[in-house]
C-alpha cells in the first residue's frame, strides 16, 4: 500500500465474540512521524495498539511493519524494534518483582551489554530516584508506576513506540518532562510514535497528524494545523474539539 510508511494498518478488524472492537481501520505512519489516536472511550484505540503488538485477535485486515505483514506471535526482533507503553501500568508490571528485576529482564533477553548502567540511566531519565529500583509496583504512586512503564519501553531503544495514554497519571510538570524527553529522543534518532491521548494539548504538542475514532471506525484524519485551527469536518470531531474547551454548561448542552 503506502510504500514509504513504516507502520500501517490495512482494513483491520478485531472482534471479541460478538463485540467488534475495531471494525475497519486503516492508517499509515511514516518513519519519524508522530501519529495521534483520539476518540471516544471504548472506540478501539487500545485494541488497535494491542493488535499491532500481536495481543488482539485479528479477524481480518493486516498490520504491516516496514513493508512486511506481521503474523502470529511477535518475535524477539519485533520487541527490539517496537515497544508498547500500556494504558494500565499496574496491569503491565509484575506485582511480585522489584522494578530493577523487571527492567533487567528484557535487557538480558535481548542480550544488551552494560545492563545495570542502562537501568540506572533510564530510571533517572524518567525522573525517579535510583532507590525506587528496589521497590515493588505497589510501593509506588500511580504516576511513578507509569514512569516505570515508560522507562521499560525506552530501555530497548526501539524504532517505534506505541504509547497508550502514557502521561494520563502524571501531573503537568512531570508530563512536560516526559513529553520533552520523547521529543528529544525523536531528535536524537529517528523514532516513530503512535500516541493515544484524550488531551488535545498533548496531541497538539506531539503529533504531526491525528485520527479521530468512534465505534471502532476512523471518523476523520486531521493535520496538526487542522487541530489548531479547529478545522474538523465531521460532527463528532467538532463535538470533541468543542468539549475540549472544558466544563461549562454550554458544552454540555452541545453534547447532550
Amino acid at each position: 500500500m503506502n510504500k514509504g510508511s513504516l507502520l500501517s494498518l490495512d482494513r483491520l478488524v478485531v472482534t471479541y465474540g460478538a463485540v467488534r472492537a475495531v471494525r475497519d481501520l486503516s492508517f499509515a505512519i511514516s518513519p519519524g512521524e508522530c501519529f495521534g489516536l483520539v476518540g471516544e472511550s471504548g472506540s478501539g484505540k487500545s485494541t488497535a495498539l494491542r493488535a499491532i503488538a500481536g495481543l488482539a485477535p485479528i479477524a481480518s485486515g493486516n498490520v504491516m511493519l516496514a513493508g512486511q505483514t506481521l503474523m502470529g506471535p511477535r518475535d524477539l526482533h519485533f520487541h527490539r524494534r517496537v515497544q508498547m507503553v500500556f494504558q494500565d501500568p499496574y496491569g503491565s508490571l509484575h506485582p511480585r518483582q522489584t522494578i530493577e528485576r523487571q527492567l533487567m529482564e528484557p535487557l538480558r533477553i535481548q542480550r544488551f551489554p552494560d545492563r545495570p548502567d542502562r537501568v540506572r540511566g533510564v530510571i533517572r531519565r524518567v525522573g525517579l530516584p535510583e532507590s525506587f529500583l528496589y521497590r515493588y509496583p505497589h510501593q509506588l504512586s500511580g504516576g511513578q508506576r507509569q514512569r516505570v512503564a515508560i522507562a521499560r519501553a525506552l530501555l530497548m531503544e526501539p524504532d517505534v513506540l506505541l504509547l497508550d495514554e502514557p502521561t494520563s497519571a502524571l501531573d503537568v510538570s512531570v508530563q512536560a518532562e516526559i513529553l520533552n524527553l520523547l521529543m528529544d529522543l525523536r531528535e536524537e534518532r529517528v523514532l516513530t510514535y503512535l500516541l493515544v491521548s484524550h488531551d488535545f494539548g498533548v496531541i497538539g504538542t506531539m503529533c504531526d497528524r491525528l485520527l479521530v475514532m468512534r465505534h471502532g471506525l476512523a471518523v476523520e484524519e486531521m493535520s496538526n494545523a487542522d487541530l489548531r485551527a479547529g478545522r474538523a469536518t465531521s460532527a463528532y470531531a467538532r463535538q470533541l474539539l468543542e468539549a475540549s474547551r472544558g466544563y461549562h454548561p454550554e458544552a454540555l448542552a452541545d453534547v447532550g
Binding site: G142, V172, Q175, L179, G204, T205, G246, Y247, L252
Partner: protein, 280 residues
C-alpha cells in the same frame, strides 16, 4: 448537619518504615470540608492518593498513620474498629481508586460487583439491584449496559473500567465520594457527562466530593476549592476559580507547564525548576 464538618483532618502523617530508614509520604496535612467539591492537585508522589486512602483506613500495612484529628462526620477514623470502618466504607464513603482495573475483582462480572455494592448500601432485592445496575451504568455513559454488566474487568477499555468503578461507588449514594483521577481515561465529551452526574448527586443528595486530578483546568472549572500538594504537604489552598491567580511558586510553575495549542507544535514545554524551599 451544619455543626460538624463532613471531613476534618489535622496534621495527618503517613510514614513508611524501610530498611534504609523511614520515609514520610504525608507530612502534616490539614484541611476540613463540608458538602462541597474539593479538588486536590499536585506533584506525582506528593501524597494525594495516600491522603484519600487514610480517610478510609486503607493505607498499606507497612505504613504508620498518625493525626491530631482524622474524622468523617464526627466519627474518629483512627479509633474506629474494622467493623465500623467496613460499614462506613460500604454505606457512607465511596472511593474511586486511581487504578480501577486493578481494584475490581478479576473473576466476577462487573454487573455482579456493582450489584453487591448496591446491596451493601441499602436493602434491595436482587431484581431491583439488577435494574439499578443498568440504570447506573447508563448514567455513566455506558452505551451497552447489558453487555458491560456481563463483562469481566479485563474485557473493558480503560475508560469503561473507570466508569464502572464510578458506578460502583455512586450506586450506594454515599455522603462523601473520594474520586482519585476518576476521569483521566475518558474522552472529553464522556468526561463532561460524568462530571454532570456528580454535580447532580451533589445537588440532590448533598454529597461531599474530594476530586483528585492532574487536570488543572478541569478542577478549576468544576470544583469549589483547590488544595495544592507538594512533597507530602499542602502548599496552597484557594478558591477554584482563582487558580490562575495562584501565588505559590509551585502552583504558578505547574500552570506554566500546561501543554497548550497556543504553543508551536514540536517545541519543548516549559518545565519546573523545583526549589528546595518548597519542601518545608
Amino acid at each position: 448537619m451544619q455543626d460538624s464538618p463532613l471531613v476534618e483532618i489535622e496534621d495527618l502523617r503517613v510514614t513508611f518504615k524501610e530498611r534504609s530508614g523511614s520515609f514520610d509520604a504525608v507530612r502534616g496535612v490539614s484541611f476540613s470540608m463540608g458538602r462541597e467539591k474539593l479538588g486536590i492537585v499536585g506533584e506525582s508522589g506528593s501524597g494525594k492518593s495516600l491522603t484519600g486512602k487514610a480517610l478510609l483506613g486503607l493505607v498499606p500495612g507497612n505504613a504508620v498513620v498518625t493525626a491530631k484529628k482524622l474524622a468523617f462526620d464526627g466519627h474518629d477514623i483512627l479509633a474506629a474498629t474494622p467493623r465500623e470502618m467496613r460499614k462506613l466504607r460500604g454505606r457512607r464513603i465511596g472511593l474511586v481508586m486511581q487504578d480501577p482495573k486493578y481494584c475490581l475483582n478479576p473473576v466476577k462480572t462487573v454487573g455482579y460487583q456493582i450489584a453487591e455494592s448496591c446491596k451493601l448500601a441499602s436493602r434491595v432485592s436482587s431484581a431491583d439491584a439488577k435494574v439499578r445496575v443498568l440504570e447506573t451504568l447508563r448514567a455513566v455513559q455506558i452505551n451497552d449496559p447489558e453487555r458491560v454488566a456481563r463483562a469481566y474487568p479485563h474485557e473493558l477499555s480503560g475508560g469503561m473500567a473507570q466508569r464502572v468503578m464510578m458506578a460502583m461507588m455512586v450506586i450506594g449514594e454515599p455522603d462523601l465520594l473520594i474520586a482519585d483521577e476518576p476521569t483521566s481515561a475518558l474522552d472529553v465529551t464522556v468526561q463532561l457527562e460524568v462530571l454532570a452526574l456528580l454535580d447532580r448527586l451533589i445537588a440532590a443528595r448533598g454529597m461531599g466530593l474530594i476530586f483528585i486530578s492532574h487536570d488543572l483546568r478541569l478542577v478549576s472549572q468544576f470544583c469549589d476549592r483547590i488544595v495544592v500538594m507538594y512533597a507530602g504537604r499542602i502548599v496552597e489552598t484557594l478558591p477554584a476559580k482563582d487558580l490562575s491567580q495562584a501565588t505559590h511558586a509551585y502552583t504558578r510553575g505547574l500552570l506554566n507547564c500546561l501543554p497548550s495549542l497556543d504553543r508551536a507544535a514540536g517545541t519543548r514545554l516549559p518545565t519546573l525548576q523545583r526549589e528546595a524551599g518548597w519542601r518545608t
